[in-house]
C-alpha cells in the first residue's frame, strides 16, 4: 500500500491565473504540494499568494500569519506578518517571463514545496511549512527561504489555491498535490 499518493497534478499548458486544488479528500494525515513557478506579469518577479478553502478575507476575523527565514543575495532576513487577509510569501520563487532585469532566461523556474500538517482535523488551525528557492543566471537575485504560514480557521482544509494577483503563472509552471497517510 502506498503511503504517499498523488491527489492531483496541475500543469500549465498555457498561462494560467491559478492552480486550484478543490474537493481535497480528508483521507490522508498530511498534504504536500510541490512544483515550479514562473510568472508572466510586468514586474521583475513575484511571490505566490495562497488561499485555503477559497478564503481570502479578514472580515470574518479568520486570518493568516506568515513567517520565514530567507537568504537573498548576500543578506539574510527574518520576517513575520499577522492578521493577513491572505497568505503571501515574502520571498520570490517566480521570475517574470518577458524581457526584464531578471527575466531573460525563459527556462528559469522557481521551486516550491509545502507541507500541510493534519489538514483534515477540524480542531486545529491549518499549519503549512514551506521551502522554496529561485536563482537567476545573470543577475544577483537569488533566494532560498524556509518557514510557514498559518490559517486561523479550525475547518478541515479541502481547497488550496495558488495565485498571483493581476497576472498569470507562465506556461510550464506546475503544482502537484500529494497525500501522506498515517495508516
Amino acid at each position: 500500500m502506498a503511503i504517499i499518493e498523488a491527489i492531483s497534478s496541475n500543469y500549465a499548458d498555457a498561462d494560467t491565473a491559478s492552480f486550484d486544488f478543490t474537493s481535497i479528500p480528508s483521507t490522508y494525515e498530511h498534504l504536500q504540494m510541490r512544483g515550479t513557478l514562473r510568472y508572466s506579469g510586468a514586474i521583475n518577479s513575484t511571490t505566490p499568494y495562497f488561499k485555503i478553502n477559497n478564503t481570502a478575507t479578514g472580515a470574518t476575523g479568520v486570518e493568516y500569519t506568515v513567517q520565514n527565514i530567507r537568504g537573498e543575495g548576500s543578506s539574510a532576513y527574518l520576517s513575520m506578518s499577522v492578521a493577513q487577509d491572505f497568505c503571501w510569501w515574502y520571498s520570490v520563487p517566480a521570475l517574470q517571463n518577458s524581457t526584464s532585469l531578471y527575466g531573460e532566461q525563459a527556462q528559469n523556474y522557481g521551486t516550491w514545496e509545502m507541507t500541510v500538517f493534519d489538514y483534515a482535523n477540524a480542531s486545529k488551525t491549518a499549519l503549512c511549512m514551506v521551502r522554496c528557492g529561485m536563482n537567476s543566471v545573470t543577475a544577483s537575485y537569488n533566494i532560498a527561504s524556509w518557514g510557514c504560514f498559518m490559517w486561523e480557521s479550525n475547518n478541515a482544509v479541502d481547497q488550496l489555491t495558488v495565485y498571483t494577483p493581476g497576472s498569470n503563472w507562465f506556461r510550464g509552471s506546475y503544482m502537484n498535490l500529494y497525500g501522506i497517510k498515517s495508516a
Binding site: I3, T65, V82, L127, M150, N154, I180, A183
Partner: protein
C-alpha cells in the same frame, strides 16, 4: 516494495508529558522521518520539547546547531555540545498565543539510522506561528543534531521540556526505503 512505510501513528487522547516513546524500531529501513502536530498544555506563549535516542538521557552524547527566529527580525543561531537531547528547542504553542487550537508542525529526519559504523545525524524543521508579532511570539526553527553513538537507533522518545503536550497532538513515524 513501498518506499514510505508507516511504523506508528499516535494521537494523544489526554494531556501528557511524553508524546511518544517508540521502541523496538525495526532496522529494515534506510531513513526515518517523524511528522508531528503538537500543542502545549501551558499558559505560556510556547513550550519546547526534546528528542532523545535509545533511552540515552545523559548530557554528554548529543550536540546540535540551531538557526531560529521569533516574531522579531533577528535571526538567532547557537551550537552546543554535551547536551541531553539531539533537538533542543522545537516549539509548540500554548494558550499565551491567544489562539485556541493552534498546533505547531515538525518534521524530523533520522538519516541512515541503523548503520553501526556512523554517528547518527538528525535534521529538524519546526514551525509554530502565532497571531501576534514581537519577541517570544511565533517561532521557526531549523536544527542539525548529532548523537555521537554508533548504535542503531531503535528507540525515539519525544518529551515536553516542561508541562504537557495537549490532547490531540499527533506523531507519525515513517520508515523510508531505498532500492532493495
Amino acid at each position: 516494495m513501498a518506499v514510505w512505510n508507516v511504523i506508528n501513528h499516535t494521537e494523544l487522547g489526554s494531556d501528557g508529558a511524553t508524546l511518544v516513546d517508540w521502541t523496538s524500531i525495526s532496522s529494515s529501513y534506510d531513513h526515518l522521518i517523524a511528522m508531528l502536530s503538537t500543542r502545549a498544555d501551558s499558559t505560556a506563549i510556547g513550550e519546547s520539547f526534546k528528542v532523545q535516542l535509545n533511552g540515552d538521557t545523559s548530557a554528554t552524547d548529543y550536540s546540535y546547531t540551531n538557526m531560529y527566529g521569533d516574531g522579531t527580525t533577528t535571526i538567532q543561531q547557537e551550537n552546543q555540545t554535551g547536551q541531553a537531547t539531539v533537538s533542543a528547542y522545537p516549539r509548540m504553542l500554548g494558550t499565551g498565543d491567544g489562539l485556541t487550537n493552534n498546533f505547531s508542525g515538525t518534521r524530523i529526519y533520522f538519516f541512515d539510522y541503523s548503520n553501526t559504523d556512523k554517528f547518527k545525524s538528525v535534521l529538524t524543521e519546526n514551525c509554530a506561528p502565532s497571531k501576534t508579532t514581537g519577541a517570544g511570539q511565533g517561532y521557526i526553527y531549523l536544527n542539525s543534531g548529532l548523537w555521537a553513538d554508533t548504535s542503531a537507533i531503535n528507540q525515539i522518545t519525544i518529551t515536553a521540556s516542561s508541562n504537557d503536550f495537549e490532547s490531540g497532538s499527533t506523531a507519525t513515524l515513517y520508515g523510508i526505503n531505498g532500492v532493495a
